[in-house]
């Protein structure tokens, strides 16, 4: 596809009429470019209007969709094409998907400030209206082209399976045959979208379009690219964040068979070799002395105690309802607690890697990234070249979870590649990947609540301290000390609370980079809020489900998922000793979700999650099998965090190294998972992340039910759960 051509057309033929504009695609087909930006905003910023995804219908009927969102296993390469195929009346098998090139003007995510990003569980949410509209408009134009050809009323024609039919005469034309004519027709101002009850694809389980190559070894992830002549490098970055290389003795490394070159950077050393085996062996042979810098004595407990102190000082008010001070004065019972959650690594199965070829006149980058435009910008800056001289090839992602929203690995690879003749693939060892991740922030929370004589909460006070990832990653969204991520799940609760006050204190940990991590803000807030809600139920001596239900009269969708989860889980049924059920309820990523976890705590304190029941209302379901898969996935991800997840520092160094010290849940620990979806036609909610934030408090509340022990710090401390003799 000639992207330059498409882009230049998009930039020059600005349409104020609406979302879509048509033109002849290279090869004579119909091209529709569409904007994921709302019409109002278009009108306001008409001069910068730039469509950001493309439908291309080729003469052979092939429909190509350029995807602004990358496939990380979340099924987006299937669910997004379903939206178009539904309205366009084509078989999903006729849709072909391409990675979008880096271009924030064209492919910026309207729900994330125009950054070209796949994250925050919002691909379907962002595409829901505009992509269906794109499909419907294309269909209308194809029908119009056919009607013109036959000289009949378009209303007497209909589209079906990639063809336009004229029922009265039985004539048909394939889309490919109509594409060239359709390209010259005016774009209709308004098209009707299908009624949900007429959906043929949306809501039906569709087979994933990206899986065949993933079972036979042919799928190409970033780590698999092999441009001709590529060398392999691995690296050691300063073990202390912010440290520098003081001296390097590479004599022994150079003697290793297959080692080609040692690259010394300010704060890292890389060994370039014919293969990773030689690169690793070479790196082990390099003697590096580090100037450890100012973080050489940093420990996690110091960071935690700074955060704890910060929660004693006022923060920015994220939400205030009623008068919480008065509510507290009037309360009959008072409950107070503090909570802590640790730094977490992403531990994607595909370790960080990036392949770069720096030439005199340009730079080529091969990588799997959630933010390809940022990759291009970072590579250009590091290579000292104009953006146009940097070509980025995006590849399948062997796990994102937020890690590949960052470009630190790209910058590293370009820094190294500047010293290397020809292309070099920089592959991080697992140890490097875990010890130089950018971590889910550590959080410290202080809460108090007051209950009336019936046990109902009449005051809710919550102040928390930790890092704002948004403040670094998307500064325009950090305002007045607040951002929408750190507050999600802590404010706008589903519960009716007459007096509520929530404050956030931004504290950036010294030296430690923080980043988004699956379920982002709610990975912290939902654990705290739902654990504390459980504490209130216990203080009121009420059942945790009944207690919550009584606070949900104003949020019927939340009430419905909670009631459904409890019913399906057999909430009231008796359980053996040291087995308990715990519940959680959240509204996050525009999806309502309740989970009930059934947990067994061994005499030695070992926790086993036996069964999880999840009820959710994510509005219209596009691909139900993907919803199911994402919930299963997110629950396993969250159980890993609850039971094992913790990055700690001592002497400025991350103490975890590999999957022995940073454990991930395995198949023999995986619970049975049941998912119940509330069917409706509300706008779609996100589904990749909510399952992770919801499971964590469900597990800790279940541990409380099983043992009477309230856990206010993650991960679960096994020693504290041993059965007293």
């Amino acid at each position: 596809m000639d992207l330059d051509r498409l882009e230049s057309r998009a930039a020059s033929s600005v349409s104020r009429r609406g979302f879509l504009q048509a033109g002849a695609a290279a090869g004579g087909g119909l091209l529709l470019s569409l904007s994921l930006v709302s019409p109002k905003r278009d009108a306001e910023a008409a001069a910068d209007f730039a469509p950001n995804a493309f439908i291309r219908i080729e003469r052979d009927g092939q429909i190509v969709l350029t995807m602004p969102y990358v496939e990380m296993g979340q099924g987006t390469y299937t669910s997004i094409p379903m939206l178009i195929a539904e309205e366009l009346e084509v078989d999903l098998k006729q849709v072909q998907v391409e990675h979008a090139p880096p271009n924030e003007k064209l492919y910026g995510n309207p729900l994330l400030g125009g950054i070209q990003v796949t994250g925050n569980s919002n691909a379907v949410r962002a595409s829901w209206q505009p992509l269906r509209q794109a499909g419907a408009t294309a269909k209308a134009m194809l029908v119009a082209a056919a009607a013109k050809h036959w000289n009949v009323d378009p209303a007497s024609c209909r589209a079906q399976s990639g063809e336009v039919l004229h029922a009265a005469t039985g004539r048909k034309l394939k889309y490919g045959e109509l594409a060239a004519d359709a390209a010259h027709l005016p774009v209709p101002d308004k098209v009707a979208l299908k009624r949900p009850q007429d959906f043929k694809l949306i809501g039906t389980p569709a087979k994933r379009l990206d899986t065949a190559g993933k079972v036979n070894g042919t799928a190409v992830y970033g780590i698999d690219v092999r441009p001709p002549g590529v060398k392999i490098a691995t690296l050691a970055q300063s073990p202390v964040f912010g440290g520098r290389v003081k001296s390097v003795d590479d004599a022994a490394a150079k003697a290793v068979k297959g080692v080609r070159q040692i690259v010394r950077l300010d704060d890292a050393v890389a060994v370039v070799a014919d293969h990773m085996g030689a690169a690793k062996k070479g790196l082990e042979a390099v003697k590096i002395e580090w100037d450890e810098g100012s973080h050489a004595k940093l420990r996690t407990d110091q960071i935690a105690s700074e955060l704890e102190k910060a929660t004693l000082t006022p923060g920015s008010v994220a939400q205030n309802i009623g008068n919480v001070e008065k509510g507290m004065v009037d309360a009959v019972t008072k409950v107070e607690a503090t909570y802590e959650v640790p730094f977490l690594a992403h531990a994607t199965m595909e370790p960080m890697n990036c392949t770069v070829h720096v030439r005199n006149d340009g730079c080529e980058v091969w990588v799997g990234s959630q933010v390809i435009a940022r990759v291009q910008a970072a590579a250009a800056k590091t290579a000292g070249m104009p953006l146009d001289n940097v070509v980025v090839h995006n590849h399948l992602i062997g796990g994102g979870f937020g890690r590949r929203l960052e470009v630190d690995g790209v910058i590293r690879a370009v820094e190294i590649a500047k010293h290397v003749e020809g292309p070099v693939k920089v592959v991080w060892t697992r140890e490097e990947d875990i010890q130089h991740d950018m971590y889910r922030p550590y959080w410290f929370d202080r809460l108090s609540a007051g209950l009336d004589e019936k046990g109902k909460p009449v005051a809710w006070n919550h102040r928390y301290a930790g890092s704002s990832v948004i403040a670094r990653w998307a500064p325009p969204f950090f305002n007045n000390g607040l951002d929408p991520d750190t507050t999600e799940g802590a404010i706008d609760l589903v519960y009716t609370l007459p007096n509520m006050h929530v404050e956030y204190v931004q504290v950036e940990p010294p030296g430690i980079p923080t980043a988004f991590w699956r379920s982002v803000g709610p990975s912290h807030t939902v654990f705290v809020v739902e654990s504390f809600m459980d504490e209130l139920a216990a203080a009121a001596k009420q059942d945790p489900v009944a207690y919550r239900l009584a606070l949900l009269d104003k949020t019927p969708r939340a009430k419905a998922v909670l009631a459904l989860a409890a019913e399906k889980a057999g909430w009231a049924e008796p359980l053996p000793e040291r087995v308990g059920r715990g519940v959680s309820l959240q509204y996050a990523f525009a999806t309502y979700m309740a989970q009930v976890a059934e947990v067994e705590v061994g005499k030695n304190g070992a926790v086993r999650v036996r069964r999880v029941v999840c009820a959710l209302d994510c509005g219209t379901v596009v691909n139900p099998d993907t919803v199911l898969a994402q919930i299963q996935s997110a629950i396993i991800f969250g159980i890993t965090a609850a039971l094992y997840g913790e990055i700690t520092l001592n002497d400025g160094r991350v103490q975890q190294t590999n999957f022995d010290s940073y454990q991930l849940l395995r198949i023999d620990e995986a619970p049975a998972i049941e998912v119940h979806i509330v069917q409706n036609f509300e706008a779609p909610g996100g589904i990749g992340e909510p399952g992770t934030s919801a499971i964590v408090p469900a597990v800790s509340n279940a541990i409380f039910a099983a043992t009477g022990k309230r856990l206010r710090k993650l991960p679960v401390e096994r020693a504290a759960l041993k059965q007293p003799v």
């Binding site: 899986t211 079972v215 036979n216 070894g217 990773m276 994607t348 199965m349 595909e350 997110a634 995986a670």
Partner: protein
Amino acid sequence: MAFSIEVNRKAYVVDVDGDTPLLWVLRDVLGMTGTKFGCGMALCGACTVHLDGVAIRSCITRIDSIGTSQITTVEAIGSTAAGATVQKAWLDREVVQCGYCQSGQIMSAAALLASNSRPTDAQIDAAMSGNICRCGTYLRIREAIKQATQSNGQRG
């Protein structure tokens, strides 16, 4: 030093140090990138291949330890009965998410089924617990292996 190895029924000579892990010979020297790097310490199973039909972790298998043993990788596992059944079951059950660990999962599952056509749940857990999946596809892996055992039974 030069080593002669046989991968997927084809002979290769590679000139690397004897302690070079098979994983890097496959991926970087021979260009067979279906076998994945995950941990380098036999902790995650992403690098699983078959050595004379037995699942091994190629990241800790030295090239000088292989001798005349037959190496089979994910690229060729579909030509074995168990491998083809497993791959089909994986697609039928929509096991895959990001897919990065699935080469190793499939190799472990194919080795299990080749040696035990009717594994119990406990045997499935035992054979598969060395393979980590960060996307958490474990429930579907179990289902797919069960489907594969059923088709094994029907055939046999």
